[in-house]
Symmetry: C2
Subunit: 84 residues, 2 copies
Amino acid sequence: MGLLSNNLLQSQNHKTIMQTYTYNVKMTCGGCSGAVTKALSKMEGIDNVEIDMEKQLVAVSTSSVSKEDIFEAIKKTGKEVSPA
Amino acid sequence: MGLLSNNLLQSQNHKTIMQTYTYNVKMTCGGCSGAVTKALSKMEGIDNVEIDMEKQLVAVSTSSVSKEDIFEAIKKTGKEVSPA
């Protein structure tokens, strides 16, 4: 096989594993949860952000961003945050 | 004069000019304003943060951080922001 075929095979074999990380974030209104959603959604590599206001939880799905980098981004919103 | 004296003179002549920059920031509860205050207060070089919830204004005093860098930090909170 030539180089092109090899590259195509490698591309097909490369599996993207989606991870979901969950954090406790103190949010008191729709503005709070909206800000966290917006801040995280803007980040490159973030696929989904889900907020549970009642449980004060933020679940972030990604296949390329580390749990720590997401944690730092949430801290930059000014919200109290801890891993759930 | 020796090198040390020169350095001391330069240090004494260096004037620190405090600037206050103001931004329109959409905040709906105490958690929103608290998050903006916390995010900005954590930044090195920020001397004071004042919030006017009624006017939806944030005033930031600094002698070393640029207006643009503060703007970017507010954007990272996920809040809608524009220069006032």
